[in-house]
Symmetry: C2
């Protein structure tokens, strides 16, 4: 499977790229608004992987080019860039493309971070609204600590929640998550349920702030 | 410590009463609007405990009487009764009383349950607004599956999140949570952070709905 990580130069993109390159055979494409930065970042990820004894080739392109021939497109950009990036790549997506939304709208308060959804109700819903008709959009990978995800020496041992209107698409994304060692996907149902899923991210950051032993905290449901 | 469980005849009240009675020496008082129902329920809990080989006396009173001489008052009533119950007991609370709020505002959607906070921003904030000046209010025990909590044959093995403006009060509630075997308290900071904590409850119920192996699911942060 060819996976394009739009905004793949950012921290969640880095972690997903490194984990999938290590734990699966998926072809990883790094997307960025700046194609030169995308190429340089892909090369830097190759170096990181080589340090781990993993010999993989990653490529880097402008987001539009990265999305063009991908089977899976991960919109790994901050919530406030999602609409622009989806607009830029929409005509590169077809009905076979699976779009994954890991972004969360977050606002800062005095004592913590707070869930701040777009007017669509959730970022997953925003991406679904921006995707061409017939393209499946699934929210996932919201609640992974980016540093832990990108640190290949650390066991993940965490759950991620998969939310989207098409059950088959949720299953495909769950399989992509399960490809990553130490990550377990759970089904959170249709996009209607995305706000509660995305709300977990500010909660995790707040818990890391108020509990000394919970840096880069993940979550497990049992 | 004398702990009064207002609405202690309900499912979260039952679980907390049985667990504290089993795992600690705290004096447990069951409160209800109907004092006769409170007494009968306390006797029924004693029978359940006796079946487990636990010999404990529990008492039952009207909510006002239950709150009157309690060190800790748990407002274990549905979110839409919180304001009435707090109004009924407010003049029984003094500056030494610690009030705990486990309730969550939840609305039903087509595909799942959704966080539906009161206009105060969270139920914890609603209880804090309704408490007399100087009385500490802490949100906790929101995210425990009631059936699992009340089933003394089941290991809890779950975390609960403690949220309130006074750090010392949060520590006291964390200690009360830690008194229950298999329960670990984590600090979520001031009341400002309560919405993200309370949002976990509908999420857990949604996950139980969409994942066959997650009935009565709890959550762990690591």
């Amino acid at each position: 499977m060819r996976i394009a990580l739009l905004g793949g130069t950012g921290d969640i993109g880095a972690g997903l790229a490194l984990r999938w390159a290590t734990d699966s055979d998926h072809d990883i494409v790094i997307g960025s608004r700046d194609p030169e930065k995308a190429r340089e970042t892909a090369a830097a990820y190759e170096d990181t992987l080589a340090d781990q004894g993993v010999d993989r080739k990653l490529t880097g392109f402008a987001n539009e080019m990265a999305a063009d021939r991908a089977d899976v497109v991960v919109v790994a950009v901050p919530a406030y860039h999602v609409t622009d990036v989806m607009g830029a790549v929409a005509d590169r997506l077809d009905a076979d493309t699976l779009v994954i939304s890991p972004a969360v709208g977050i606002a800062s308060g005095e004592h913590g971070l707070h869930y701040n959804p777009p007017s669509a109700g959730s970022v997953t819903a925003l991406v679904a609204d921006a995707a061409p008709d017939g393209v499946d959009v699934v929210g996932a990978f919201h609640n992974l600590a980016a540093d832990r995800l990108a640190d290949l020496d650390t066991e993940l041992d965490a759950d991620t929640l998969v939310v989207g209107n098409d059950e088959g698409a949720r299953t495909r994304v769950a399989e992509l998550a399960d490809d990553i060692t130490g990550l377990r996907a759970l089904d959170a149902g249709p996009v209607e349920n995305a706000a509660e899923v995305e709300s977990l991210t500010p909660l995790l950051i707040n818990l890391a702030r108020y509990n000394d032993d919970l840096r880069d905290v993940g979550v497990t449901f049992e």
